[in-house]
Symmetry: C2
Subunit: 268 residues, 2 copies
């Protein structure tokens, strides 16, 4: 079982990823695909006159300020434009894809952070109408039903809150929870960097392998989304996932390169 | 088995429809829900600087001019914003909804009209880059799988062409094909009119009942989308659907009013 998460960067080629996934599925690989759409969402938000805003939380990480209008745009882009373009790209290649968000069948449950404290200049202010949250768990019943019948699930945020509202959550965390729940052999993150770099952005400093007991000493090398991925890798390995790979999504055959030729950073 | 199609008019209340559907599902009714999003798509198209255009075809019916950019906006609004808002509205009411487009699991197959002849003033011109099409059939395997497991399918255009491309098709036709394939007892169309009117738009001229052998004499009373509904009703009844109802989606309890109190036009 393979879980592949493709980031929402514009430099990731949908055609290359879809070609590669179709090859693996046609060889009989069981696959769950998760995708983001962050940069497309930024573009549509700008075009609709509701430009994206990013806020820094108490944990030092930034997240998208998600008022109800932003959430609507998020649904449009993640679940509409991008999810269905992935499904179409896979269908064109003979893969019987089914696109689902975390809302559908209560697939991904999370906790809404109804009040978030964010930095505004030198001050911390409270925001009360935000629709971001954290992933608590995934219910694999629907995904396993689809896999058993030969469909390939194509998953995207948002998640469903415990009050049954759509909330903006991190797609990387959905992929990690899915990998744990399905006890995947490999959890592969494709994004617009070559992997974990000792000296960002110098790609010649790629760290190609990290043993589980070394993760802590590497976490401080990473920042932002990469830090979240490495922290998530540690959790996933501890909970039974075979290997976590962080690799370049901007190349031809990005999936098989990461799996076969050992591109990227292999953790586990 | 009940198939409900809600039109994409802004005057249809998502809350009222969702309340009513949830009541029926909680009473044990088996339900497939289909929705449109035409007016929301018009609004987003305008906001994105790609205003909607409608063309008149050789059959005298109008359809949305769908270039590739329009198709992307169509995916955003139908599959993203509106499909997921329906799913969220149903989940909030305890209904375990799963939103799917016709692409997902090859649910709805259609034929792309890659060349369409449309009227421009007094002339007929050929358009070659259009992504509209007609529904050929629905594959109910995925829908039946979901129904068996207690999920409620929430379906939306587009369909998947025979070349595995997304195509803009009529949601009313998806509902009619679904009703025939599942041999539904009732196919209910909710839209922003009270039903078939003898003298449009005078609602006091509502035709409340049409027997199957009377359909032909009523077809000429209808225009545009209503004509398509009445024509579709004739096909659906001939192919085993119990009854077709065309009723007002702008009222409280629109579904139970149509079913129990005999609002709208009942055909069959």
């Amino acid at each position: 079982m393979l879980i592949v998460k493709a980031g929402g960067g514009l430099s990731i080629s949908m055609d290359s990823v879809a070609d590669d996934l179709a090859g693996l599925v046609n060889q009989g690989e069981q696959l769950v695909f998760v995708h983001g759409a962050a940069e497309h969402t930024n573009a549509v938000s700008e075009a609709l006159g509701h430009p994206p805003e990013f806020v820094e939380g108490r944990n030092g990480l930034t997240s998208r300020r998600t008022d109800r209008r932003t959430l609507e745009i998020f649904l449009m882009v993640y679940c509409g434009q991008i999810n269905k373009m992935w499904v179409e790209a896979l269908q064109k290649r003979g893969v019987n894809a089914v696109g689902l968000s975390g809302l559908d069948g209560r697939l991904v449950r999370g906790t809404r952070k109804s009040r978030i404290r964010v930095r505004k200049g030198n001050r911390w202010v409270m925001i009360r109408d935000d629709w971001t949250g954290t992933v608590d768990h995934v219910d694999t019943r629907l995904v396993q039903l689809l896999l058993r019948e030969g469909f390939v699930p194509v998953l995207t945020p948002p998640a469903l809150s415990h009050d049954n509202e759509a909330i903006n959550v991190d797609g990387d965390r959905i992929a990690a929870h899915m990998a744990v729940s399905l006890q995947a052999d490999i959890l592969l993150y494709l994004s617009d960097v070559a992997g974990l770099l000792r000296s960002y952005p110098d790609e010649s400093t790629l760290i190609s392998s990290i043993k589980p007991n070394q993760i802590d000493q590497f976490i401080d090398l990473a920042e932002g989304r990469m830090k979240r991925k490495v922290m998530g890798a540690k959790d996933a390995l501890q909970q039974g996932v075979g290997e976590v790979v962080i690799a370049d999504g901007r190349v031809e055959d990005p999936v098989t390169k990461a799996l076969v030729e050992a591109h990227g950073t292999h953790i586990g």
